[in-house]
């Protein structure tokens, strides 16, 4: 074990343990304490550990660190550039949710579930072990289903989510079993491994809301609480799973990954187009999230570093921007109920600060210069066009529709005649802090993207190396993935 490895392992453990400890503390203390404080503290500890882990990994050799690799086809704890990128990202999203959550939504049980969800997501992002991934998928699905079901009026969404996720989990479990029996990342694997790969691909498509398995995705945003929807969708666990299990097959890019990426391209354009005709603000966020997350998956199947970098950048930029929009919508809803966007709602005068944040997050999600999404869109469009012209065109069409949807959404929420004597919805300091943090990251990385893009390039190179380094005779204890 190198001197770096215990520190990395410690950071991973802290990332996961801090939210779990806070959840346990909240359960013990009950309603005697404001749940926001321990939750925020725990996630800040996780964030610090995640940032520390990223710094450690970048100071190292750039090789993946595996712990418990002998157990099966991947490391039980697997830390590479992707982990170093995603753990801080997940912690920032969770922190923003905890800070913006309206007080009446902060029940002890609800916050405990959120913290447990955060821990599960971080654990997922730190493993490449197929069995561990299946178990973590199962736990997070059950936890989410319970949360959606507990939401007043959320039963239809819970039913749909349950139906979709049961299918996804079944495919995932069966697929990984077959893959472990006949690992497709080794030369000489047969039909069993291939079938396993296809089942995992179907599981990924369902869990990511890829066409034709997408209907649960916007419905979750409409039926569940905003926090649940964001916690479930923004980390993109299914994309992470695809990277770990489908990238790195012995015969190059897995054919199932190619099929998934083509379906994801269609989803990206379709989701963005649907966003243009949404009638509710939540529907808008849901369809945009569906489109943007599909774009990530489409890009990850590329064979060019530029395309992969673009996909990873879209992962972070769209995730943070849509989290911002979702939180603004949630903040508005907590003051004035659900927001329709089929007509002009005239809320600008009520909430000018939230209008400004919505607009800035909107710009940050649609490739506006000076934001991280400009860098992300540039990379993914250039990479896609370099590799497949049709993919580049579809990505451009998706960004055009997404831009129209965001601006239409902004004007429909905030534009229109103002209600006389409408109450002023002053933004709260914690909301301003949370939204400002997200904006600072999006604009900071947009103005000075060099180091961030370099780190993405390292991650992309390591992902591409996994594809290229599978030589005959390698065992599952080798480099995969």
């Amino acid at each position: 074990m190198t001197p770096l490895e215990p520190a990395v392992l410690g950071c991973v453990a802290t990332c996961i343990a801090a939210p779990l400890a806070a959840a346990a503390t909240l359960r013990l203390l009950g309603d005697r304490v404001n749940p926001r404080l321990p939750a925020a503290a725990a996630i800040i500890v996780s964030l610090a550990a995640a940032v520390g882990l990223a710094a450690l990994w970048h100071s190292g050799s750039g090789r993946p660190l595996l712990f418990g690799a002998r157990l099966a086809g991947g490391g039980l704890v697997h830390v590479d550039g992707l982990t170093a990128l995603l753990l801080p990202y997940v912690a920032v999203v969770d922190l923003a949710i905890v800070l913006v959550a309206p007080r009446r939504a902060l029940t002890t049980a609800g916050v405990s579930r959120l913290l447990i969800g955060a821990a599960i997501t971080m654990a997922t992002m730190a493993t490449a072990h197929p069995a561990a991934l299946v178990v973590l998928w199962g736990v997070s699905i059950v936890s989410t289903w319970l949360a959606v079901r507990a939401t007043l009026g959320g039963r239809p969404a819970a039913r749909l989510y349950g139906l979709a996720m049961t299918a996804a989990l079944a495919c995932m479990a069966l697929g990984t079993t077959l893959m472990l029996a006949d690992p497709p990342w080794l030369h000489g694997s047969g039909a069993v491994g291939a079938a396993g790969g296809w089942l995992v691909a179907v599981a990924v498509m369902i869990r990511k809301g890829i066409v034709p398995f997408h209907s649960w995705y916007p419905a979750l945003f409409s039926g569940a609480s905003v926090a649940t929807a964001l916690v479930v969708t923004m980390p993109q666990v299914a994309t992470y799973t695809a990277v770990r299990l489908l990238v790195g097959h012995a015969d190059g890019v897995a054919s199932e990954l190619i099929v998934v990426s083509q379906a994801a391209l269609i989803t990206a354009a379709y989701g963005a187009a649907l966003a243009v005709v949404q009638r509710s603000a939540r529907g808008l966020v849901g369809t945009l999230a569906m489109s943007q997350s599909a774009m990530v998956l489409a890009g990850l199947s590329g064979t060019l570093p530029m395309e992969l970098c673009g996909a990873l950048a879209v992962w972070v930029s769209s995730g943070l921007a849509l989290t911002g929009i979702g939180l603004v919508v949630w903040a508005l809803e907590s003051r004035a109920g659900r927001i329709a966007i089929d007509s002009l709602q005239g809320r600008f005068a009520d909430a000018p600060a939230l209008a400004a944040f919505f607009l800035l997050f909107g710009l940050a999600s649609l490739g506006f210069p000076g934001t991280l999404s400009f860098v992300a869109d540039d990379l993914i469009i250039s990479g896609s066009l370099d590799e497949q012209v049709h993919a580049g065109i579809i990505v451009i069409v998706a960004t055009v529709f997404a831009g129209i949807a965001v601006v239409r959404g902004w004007f429909h929420v905030f534009g229109g005649p103002v209600t006389p004597d409408a109450p002023q919805h002053v933004i709260l300091p914690r909301e301003r802090v949370a939204l400002s943090i997200l904006l600072a990251i999006l604009f900071g990385l947009g103005v000075y993207p060099g180091p961030f893009v370099s780190s993405l390039e390292q991650v992309a190179a390591s992902l591409l190396a996994v594809r290229e380094h599978h030589l005959p005779g390698q065992t599952s204890e080798g480099v995969h993935p």
Partner: protein
């Protein structure tokens, strides 16, 4: 000129060009950040800051012009750094100071400075005062970025700034339904046509390995030569023409311009009378070498430009409000300017842009006081001034005139055609897909949770 003098001149030009861009950016941050933090600056401070930004930029441009004149207007490329790079793909921040960009920056920042002074009084105590000046600073930043761009990436960034600031200023009076509708219409047109510039950028990157204009065309403007093969040049030229049509409100993308006058008068003057409407012309002038290498694109531009000019002249002659008349007059001139560019002229369209922009912005700025001006004129003349109008419709035989009059009243049926053949089919398709989605969700999960967006918030918990 000695080598030391040349180096000093180079450094001076580089610093001045950077200032031209940095000044409006600093203004944007200085005015925007306090507003975002809930502490907007006072009106006077806001006006002075934004004015100081434009003044600094204007003076820096004047000094650059003098420095360039001292060395015979040979272009100076200022490399501000590489924004990011992956493999062979690099997005660089390159600015160029030459006989086209620097005079144009003088003109743009000078005009913005004047409009800033006008707007400080015009919008006094208007609820969106700070918002207007933030957007004006954003526009100034975008304009300078686009004009000074030495690469297609930087040009695209400036172009996007123009688009969003324009949209938000059209929808400035957000409580008016018409203003919101007009802003959305303009944004959709921009977004659609922006695809042209975006794809052109990617094509250029693929063709020459970077977006730098140095690799796209060589020589000095207006005698630059295209460095890419004719087929690629044709593709890039057609894409640039497509991009220019939206911003310059050319047929069939012209419907947004008359509606855009919903914005405050100072922004109408600077956007649709002066600068934004000529952004397309500027891009085509900047890439004139590519256009020269693709005559087909040039002839297409001539046809569209003349077509738009005729359309706008006819439709404008039956408008009953001053701002609409001015919008169509702007469209006419923009069409003629594009036709001039398509014909291969370079200096003529540039002079035309500047003279038209100055005249039109003056007319739009005075339009709210038109009646007052007329009364003053009548008092000075001792009677009502003559109408002095001459409509194109009046020159035609009566039968044709009437038919054309009907067409003009319907604005050439352009809006109706776009609505019928583009917007309505696309929306029907999407709404049909959304309805099918809702039915599927209802069938699988019970009632559709999206069906009643107005139901009260029923969040049970944080998760």
């Amino acid at each position: 000129m000695t080598e030391a003098t040349a180096t000093a001149l180079h450094d001076a030009v580089a610093a001045l060009v950077t200032w031209q861009l940095a000044a409006p950016v600093a203004t944007l941050v200085a005015v925007g950040l306090p507003a975002l933090l809930g502490r907007p600056l006072a009106e006077r401070t806001t006006t002075r800051l934004v004015g100081a930004g434009f003044a600094t930029s204007f003076l820096a441009a004047l000094l650059t012009l003098a420095a360039l004149a001292a060395r015979g207007f040979s272009p100076e490329v200022v490399h501000l750094g590489t924004l990011f790079s992956v493999g062979h793909h690099a997005t660089t921040i390159e600015l160029v100071a030459d006989g086209l960009s620097v005079p144009y920056v003088c003109f743009c920042t000078g005009l913005c400075w004047l409009v800033n002074a006008f707007a400080g009084t015009y919008l006094h105590r208007e609820p969106g005062f700070t918002r207007f000046f933030i957007l004006l600073a954003l526009f100034g930043t975008g304009m300078n970025l686009m004009v000074l761009a030495g690469s297609i990436d930087v040009l695209f960034a400036g172009w996007e700034f123009l688009g969003i600031s324009s949209t938000l200023l059209i929808g400035f009076f957000h409580e008016r339904r018409n203003a919101v509708g007009a802003a959305l219409r303009a944004f959709i047109t921009y977004r659609l046509c922006d695809m042209g510039l975006l794809i052109a950028g990617v094509v250029v990157h693929r063709a020459v390995g970077s977006g730098d204009f140095e690799r796209l065309f060589g020589g000095t403007w207006p005698h630059a030569t295209c460095l890419i093969d004719p087929t690629t040049a044709l593709v890039v030229a057609l894409l640039l023409v497509f991009a220019a049509l939206g911003k310059s409100a050319q047929v069939p993308f012209s419907g947004w311009l008359p509606q855009a006058m919903e914005g405050p008068t100072p922004s109408s003057a600077i956007f649709y009378g002066a600068l934004s409407i000529h952004a397309g012309a500027y891009v085509l002038l900047r890439c004139e070498a590519v256009l020269d290498a693709a005559p087909v694109a040039g002839w297409l531009l001539v046809a569209i430009g003349i077509g738009t000019a005729l359309h706008a002249a006819v439709v404008g002659s039956v408008q009953t409000d001053l701002k609409s008349m001015l919008a169509y007059a702007s469209m006419t001139q923009a069409g003629i300017i594009l036709a001039e560019i398509g014909l291969g002229l370079r200096i003529v369209p540039l002079v035309h842009v500047v003279s038209h922009a100055i005249l039109r912005s003056l007319q739009i700025l005075r339009s709210p006081s038109a009646l007052h001006d007329r009364h003053e004129l009548a008092a000075a003349l001792g009677g009502p001034p003559g109408s002095g109008t001459c409509s194109i419709l009046g020159l035609l035989p009566d039968r044709f005139g009437r038919g054309l009059y009907r067409i003009a009243l319907e604005r050439g049926f352009e809006d109706a055609a776009v609505q019928r053949f583009v917007i309505r089919p696309v929306l029907s398709l999407l709404e049909g897909a959304q309805a099918a989605e809702s039915r599927l969700v209802a069938a699988l999960g019970g009632t559709d949770p999206a069906a009643d967006p107005r139901r009260p918030d029923r969040d049970g918990g944080a998760t």
